[in-house]
């Protein structure tokens, strides 16, 4: 008795107290009882809605009504799901997000400004078979992380030096539409003496100008995605911090760089870049982005079709670049315990409800076009991948219209901006990359719809599109 007490105090002193917790989480992870699901997507690709509806449907999965393609739920093997988000450092605001979708009239959540976490514990019954030897009931913990999509694009910077980054940005800003929009800023940069001493104010002023420029490029009609550094657009808790006095040099780097004064603009930016990497990106990456087991990549293909080729190319480049920041490969048991890698990736074209059902297959194919390079590399690493068109919340209704004697499948819903009811045949999705002359307003007119109200209980398959199949693909094999 005395001995255990002494051991306890000893353990407490040496910080071993947390060890059992750590060991438990490692072991659970090793036995695939705990998975971290990476929800990856650029800003406004629907991460927050996906997470909240996924959690909502899972929390009601014991009723077995809304997820017919999610085997454990359809077979009635899910006993109960508990929301453990409060254990996390920054819990995901599940209730308030859902309240927005359940309100009358319902509305989409505002864009995410902070990192937050959802933890779900799924208590399930194993199917009859060998697995039952481990006990009839088991629990799977699912961790989901929500964060501003802008931050994601910072991850590729970890592997770059300031000079390399500037060169990348210079090539980006040499092409339309960036070069036209940034004309003034480029002119300003050309007039700067980079190697003579400068001031904090100057640096801050220029970074603010660069931020305005990025904001302008992000909005329609350009709608570009590849925006670095991402914290300029979505500072989170770093608003106004000198860490964000950062922008790339869009003019050729100074040839006599070694003569630059220590407080010249060039030296300052180089320093700021390294600090940004060390103090902003690396903690974000190390704490949240290293230990993933499964990944879902959400892509808004309709935006690129609406905006044209430049937007498509930009998004393709952004996605392929950021997917390099994750580690892919098969997991051995040891590897799973200590350095898990992503071994299953689902690419999802979101907003499938914004096109008619007969276009879903084309949407899949179009998504494949966009991510084909990244996908090829993942396959090389033995990672299984899949493409799927899904909608976390259904905002339209499938209807038919007679037009010139033809029956057209259409959508009916409420406009996002004005809440007026519209019926729309949104056009067809190409399965090949359209030719330059085909990117025009007459061909694609995908509008944003307001969500239809999500019920609190009595969820049905008609409240989502393929959310169950996504869940089955990502977690189905673990619930056995």
């Amino acid at each position: 008795m005395n001995l255990t007490k002494r051991l306890q105090t000893l353990a407490h002193k040496s910080g071993l107290k947390e060890l059992p917790e750590q060991v438990r989480s490692r072991v659970e992870r090793g036995l695939e009882q705990r998975i971290k699901l990476a929800i990856t997507g650029l800003s406004r690709s629907g991460k927050t809605v996906f997470i909240s509806t996924l959690a909502h449907h899972l929390l009601h999965a014991d009723q077995g009504t809304s997820l017919p393609f999610f085997t454990p739920s359809a077979e009635g093997r899910i006993l109960s799901v508990r929301d453990l988000s409060t254990e996390a450092e920054t819990p995901f605001p599940l209730q308030s997000t859902l309240a927005g979708l359940q309100a009358t009239p319902p509305h989409w959540p505002v864009s995410t400004e902070q990192l937050s976490e959802v933890r779900l514990a799924v208590k399930y019954r194993r199917p009859p078979g060998l697995g039952r030897a481990l006990g009839e009931h088991s629990t799977l913990y699912i961790d989901l992380i929500d964060y501003p999509g802008e931050w994601l694009l910072d991850l590729p910077l970890l592997n770059l030096s300031f000079e390399q980054w500037c060169q990348q940005q210079q090539t980006l800003f040499a092409d339309a539409p960036r070069v036209q929009v940034a004309e003034e800023f480029l002119e300003l940069q050309r007039s700067i003496d980079w190697i003579t001493p400068s001031s904090d104010e100057e640096q801050a002023r220029l970074s603010r100008l660069f931020r305005d420029l990025l904001q302008q490029l992000r909005e329609p009609p350009h709608s570009l995605s590849l925006m670095q550094p991402g914290r300029l657009l979505m500072p989170g808790d770093l608003d106004g911090s000198p860490l964000l006095y950062l922008f790339p040099m869009l003019v050729p780097l100074p040839e006599n760089a070694e003569q630059a004064a220590p407080d010249s603009l060039y030296a300052r930016l180089k320093d700021a870049f390294e600090r940004y990497k060390d103090e902003v990106i690396r903690p974000f990456y190390e704490n949240h982005f290293r230990h993933f087991d499964r990944q879902i990549v959400l892509v808004d293909c309709l935006k690129t079709l609406n905006q044209g080729e430049a937007c498509f190319n930009d998004m393709q480049q952004a996605l392929n670049g950021l997917l390099h920041s994750f580690q892919y490969g098969r997991n051995s048991l040891l590897r799973r315990l200590f350095r898990p890698r992503i071994n299953r990736v689902l690419f999802a074209a979101t907003k499938a409800d914004h096109v008619t059902a007969n276009q879903h297959h084309n949407l899949d194919r179009f998504l494949e076009l966009m991510i084909q390079d990244a996908r090829r590399e993942m396959r090389f690493d033995g990672v299984s991948t899949s493409c799927m068109a899904l909608a976390s919340v259904r905002s339209t209704e499938a209807v038919q219209a007679k037009l010139d004697g033809q029956v057209l499948s259409c959508l009916r819903g409420y406009r996002k901006e004005s809440d007026e009811e519209v019926a729309l045949f949104p056009g067809e999705i190409p399965t090949e990359l359209p030719r330059p002359e085909d990117w025009n307003d007459a061909r694609f007119r995908f509008i944003d719809f307001a969500p239809r109200a999500l019920p609190r209980t009595g969820l049905k398959p008609e409240h989502h599109i393929r959310l169950d199949q996504a869940l089955e693909y990502l977690t189905g094999d673990l619930l056995k």
């Binding site: 499938a352 059902a357 259904r394 038919q400 004697g405 019926a423 729309l424 061909r443 007119r445």
Partner: protein, 341 residues
């Protein structure tokens, strides 16, 4: 290829009044359209012609001729004998004649009823095979909207089933956004859930019983009869579970297809079962030879049952066969081990 004027349909807004409420049975169609001959071009790849299976007509004719003449001969013999019987009974006494003719009428009526029932069963079996073929086609397609016809045919097929309400309810649950393949998967998993569970239980019970019977039966030649008897009983039950009228000719047809499938198409299954059989041998080494025979008979019954289930089910299998085989062999081993010790 030179660019044609417009290869795509332009998006457009539609006033809500123009909308029709969709009905799931409504199928979208391609409107007829006329083309100038210059605009057309030859199809690049000719569709493979569906060649009619070559069959030797003469031999068939010979067999048919033989069958028809034999049937006619039999009918004449039976008819004349019956006529003589009637004549004789009427000559004996009018009352006896009345009795015999009444009996004949009842027998004739019963026979007609049986024939009608068995034809109904045959028709249902055929319909279910057709539906399954269509479902398999749909399951590999990437399109959307073709499944509506299949759905209404399936509803038609199960209109008279005792659990019709439940099955139809599931077909109404099909979501408007599902592609054809998803519709088939959905139905395959959900529409016949109750029937599948019943059929599985039935197969399991019968195989274990057949296995035990063979294991304890004292005469070796009796085994085959026993196993066959149990198998027929099981087929009947499976047919009625899936709503197929269990007439004699449907049963014969099913037995033929099952045997055919086991003999020819079932080779891969056999190879897969080899795994469980190997597992069995290590476990059965302690059992007697008779118990081993029982195990074999039970597994054969299980395979027959699964095959029959597949043939009676108008939807492609949802892939639970392997686990069921394992479960049955496990059950058998347990029971046989108990009886052996």
């Amino acid at each position: 290829m030179k660019p044609t004027e417009q290869e795509w349909t332009a998006p457009r807004f539609i006033t809500p009044e123009q909308l029709d409420q969709p009905t799931s049975a409504d199928e979208p169609y391609t409107p007829p359209q006329e083309f100038a001959p210059e605009e057309t071009e030859p199809e690049p790849l000719a569709e493979p012609l569906v060649s009619a299976p070559a069959r030797p007509p003469r031999r068939r004719w010979g067999r048919k001729l033989l069958g028809v003449s034999l049937a006619l001969l039999l009918a004449t013999v039976v008819g004349s004998e019956l006529y003589r019987l009637l004549e004789w009974s009427f000559a004996l006494h009018p009352l006896a004649g009345g009795l015999v003719s009444a009996l004949l009428a009842i027998a004739g009526g019963g026979l007609a009823l049986q024939i009608r029932r068995s034809f109904k069963g045959l028709k249902q079996l055929k319909a279910s095979a057709d539906l399954k073929q269509e479902a398999e086609q749909l399951a590999t397609s990437t399109g959307q909207g073709q499944a509506a016809r299949f759905l209404s045919r399936l509803q038609q097929h199960y209109r008279t089933h005792p659990d019709a309400e439940q099955i139809l309810q599931q077909t109404h649950e099909v979501d408007s956004s599902y592609s054809d393949a998803e519709v088939v998967h959905f139905l395959s998993r959900h529409a016949l859930g109750k029937q599948d569970a019943q059929a599985r239980r039935c197969i399991q019970r019968h195989s274990v019983e057949a296995g035990m019977l063979v294991a304890v039966s004292p005469w070796a030649s009796f085994d085959m009869l026993l196993a066959g008897w149990r198998n027929l009983r099981m087929l009947n039950e499976i047919m009625s579970i899936y709503g197929i009228a269990p007439g004699a000719s449907a049963q014969i047809k099913l037995v033929r297809s099952v045997l055919h499938n086991i003999a020819f198409a079932g080779l891969s299954d056999l190879a897969m079962d080899a795994g469980s059989t190997l597992l069995g041998t290590s476990l059965t080494s302690g059992l007697s030879a008779r118990a081993g025979q029982g195990l074999g008979a039970g597994l054969f019954t299980a395979r027959t049952g699964l095959m029959a289930m597949e043939l009676c089910r108008p939807l492609p299998a949802a892939g639970k066969k392997q686990t069921l085989m394992k479960q049955i062999s496990g059950d058998l081993l347990k029971n046989l081990g108990k009886s052996g010790s």
